[in-house]
């Protein structure tokens, strides 16, 4: 059942022309940044070669690219999650799901899974581009995969938040703007607090992504992402249940 809903969600995302446009635009930005980083690296390479423990290609090209992808996802995920439930409500298709033999949990998880599949397709271009470097140089697989894992967890938390926001309203645009506002707010609170032990760092998904970006796998970060996602998914399920109660 969850798979069925996820596939339908994926299909509806891919049937919208705007999705393809955004995929193309995003790919262009990723590629641009990737090439810019590569240029800079090639320029610096002679000097780096003289250092004893110089950063390799993965650390100087891949990590910054992933960092940019993470930042871009913050702006873009709200655009993809906004329609998930709000549009069902606006088009009055929600009764189909509510009257079908599905629990709220199945509905929310199905939508979430569909979004995640889509986001993985969207993100997959970044590691693929970086893998082309392997033609000329060995890559640090550990760093690469920790970044990929971090990116997946990060987008899961963004998608869960977006899904919850989408469940609150019947206007997709409002869902998108409020998701973006929360994500930007968390991020700004994070980068503007200077104290290293400031509690704001704790709540910012991007802050927790930094360790993955450096190749550090910290179970604390993973727990943060998992609990952040589950809290908002649970809230979304609750909202759908309330939909039946409050109409």
């Amino acid at each position: 059942m969850i798979k069925l809903l996820a596939l339908r969600e994926l299909r509806s995302l891919f049937s919208a022309p705007s999705t393809w446009f955004m995929l193309a635009a995003l790919q262009f930005i990723f590629a641009w940044f990737f090439l810019a980083r590569m240029d800079a690296y090639l320029e610096l390479q002679p000097q780096l070669a003289q250092l004893a423990n110089a950063p390799g290609a993965t650390a100087s090209i891949a990590a910054p690219v992933f960092n940019v992808v993470a930042l871009m996802l913050m702006m873009l995920i709200p655009m993809f999650t906004m329609r998930a439930i709000a549009e069902e409500r606006r088009n009055q298709t929600l009764p189909l799901l509510l009257s079908s033999p599905l629990s709220s949990m199945q509905i929310v998880l199905g939508k979430f899974l569909g979004l995640m599949l889509f986001l993985m397709v969207l993100m997959s271009s970044a590691p693929l581009m970086i893998y082309t470097l392997q033609l000329g140089t060995p890559l640090d697989q550990g760093l690469l995969w920790s970044n990929v894992l971090g990116l997946i967890l990060l987008s899961a938390s963004y998608a869960a938040l977006g899904l919850y926001m989408s469940s609150l309203t019947n206007q997709p645009v409002i869902a998108a703007i409020s998701t973006l506002a929360v994500l930007l707010g968390l991020w700004l609170a994070d980068i503007s607090s200077n104290a290293p032990d400031s509690p704001w760092h704790m709540f910012s998904p991007l802050f927790h992504f930094q360790n993955f970006n450096f190749g550090l796998l910290d179970s604390g970060d993973a727990v943060f992402f998992l609990s952040f996602s589950s809290v908002f998914l649970l809230l979304a399920m609750r909202r759908l249940n309330n939909n039946r109660v409050y109409g």
Binding site: R8, S12, N91, Q92, P95, L96, G247
Partner: protein, 319 residues
């Protein structure tokens, strides 16, 4: 599902529902048997749609219980909902999907196995006359066809109970006739509840009728018996050269005559004795120049009025 379906497919007891301070449904109880078509008749805003939303699990009642094929809808919603097919007021269609894809999705959503889906799809397409539209995008179909897709999604998984909220709205007369035939057919195998504000619809397809007004069921009986309530024996007649009112009243069988305009009269008569033949002869003899004679149409208002009249006279003391 043939023999296992109990005779009573749906039983709702004492449903109540309010939105904020406004109570929309007051103590509604409904029962539906297998192979029965129940019409929920009422004006817009009478609470028909809200009742249907509660019966399909889209809305939780404040109090009361609903059993679908003996399964409690509120306690075991997923089990109970597998037996329901529901067409809301606005058909829940994904406009970007093709008809066949959409119907297959709905069938699978209601628990049909992947192997069983094509067969169910073919049957639903054929029943709703959608065979030549199967690969069209739903968004490109006309309103009438979209309505048919809506009906198809409600019946594709062969549910025990089909709940249709105003199924014939927005259709042209031919389509209405086809859909009514279809609903009648469905009534042979499934239980059907349909809501409508058209009296003729109830008369032509329903076995039983419940009339709803201001969130209450004010009348429930077989539709044949309801028609008696609704029947008004009378006609309007327009005469270019009308005689005195008393002359019309004098015709045998006429109980009451009202003058509507200078040339138009509303003539009521006893059920057993229709005086229209005599009126025609008289009109020809006396030169009244009869232009038009139309039997009175039963209107929902008349039925309401009669029923509420009857109710108040029955319950006169208790008030």
């Amino acid at each position: 599902m043939s023999n296992a379906t109990p005779a009573l497919t749906l039983s709702a007891q004492h449903l109540k529902r309010s939105f904020g301070k406004q109570t929309v449904i007051h103590d509604v109880s409904l029962q539906l048997h297998r192979g029965e078509v129940l019409g929920l008749l009422g004006h817009n805003g009478a609470g028909k749609s809200t009742t249907m939303q509660m019966l399909t699990g889209c809305l939780t009642p404040d109090s009361g219980s609903i059993a679908i094929c003996g399964i409690d809808l509120l306690r075991e919603p997923t089990l109970a909902k597998a037996h329901i097919g529901y067409l809301p007021e606005t058909p829940p269609l994904y406009k970007e999907m093709t008809v066949a894809d959409y119907l297959t999705f709905v069938a699978r959503l209601h628990g049909l196995k992947a192997e069983a889906a094509p067969e169910a799809l073919a049957l639903a397409l054929q029943r709703c006359g959608l065979n030549d539209k199967r690969n069209k995008l739903i968004g490109t179909l006309s309103k009438g066809y979209q309505q048919r897709v809506g009906i198809a999604q409600a019946i594709i998984h062969q549910p025990a109970i089909v709940i249709l909220d105003e199924p014939t709205v927005g259709l042209d007369p031919t389509q209405i006739r086809e859909i009514r035939t279809l609903i009648r057919e469905l009534g042979n195998q499934h239980s059907v509840i349909l809501s409508t504000h058209l009296l003729s619809e109830v008369e032509s397809i329903c076995d039983r009728v419940e009339i709803m007004q201001n969130g209450k069921l004010i009348y429930g009986d077989t539709s044949a018996r309801m028609q008696r309530y609704g029947q008004i024996s009378g006609f309007t007649v327009s005469l270019r050269n009308p005689p005195a009112l008393s002359e019309l009243q004098g015709i045998v069988g006429v109980t009451r005559v009202e003058q509507m305009t200078a040339h138009e009269f509303r003539v009521l008569h006893a059920l057993e004795h229709n005086p229209s033949a005599e009126l025609l002869t008289l009109a020809a003899q006396q030169g009244w120049h009869l232009e038009q004679l139309t039997p009175l149409q039963t209107r929902l208002e008349d039925v309401y009025a009669k029923i509420t009249d009857a109710e108040t006279s029955h319950a006169g003391e208790s008030n």
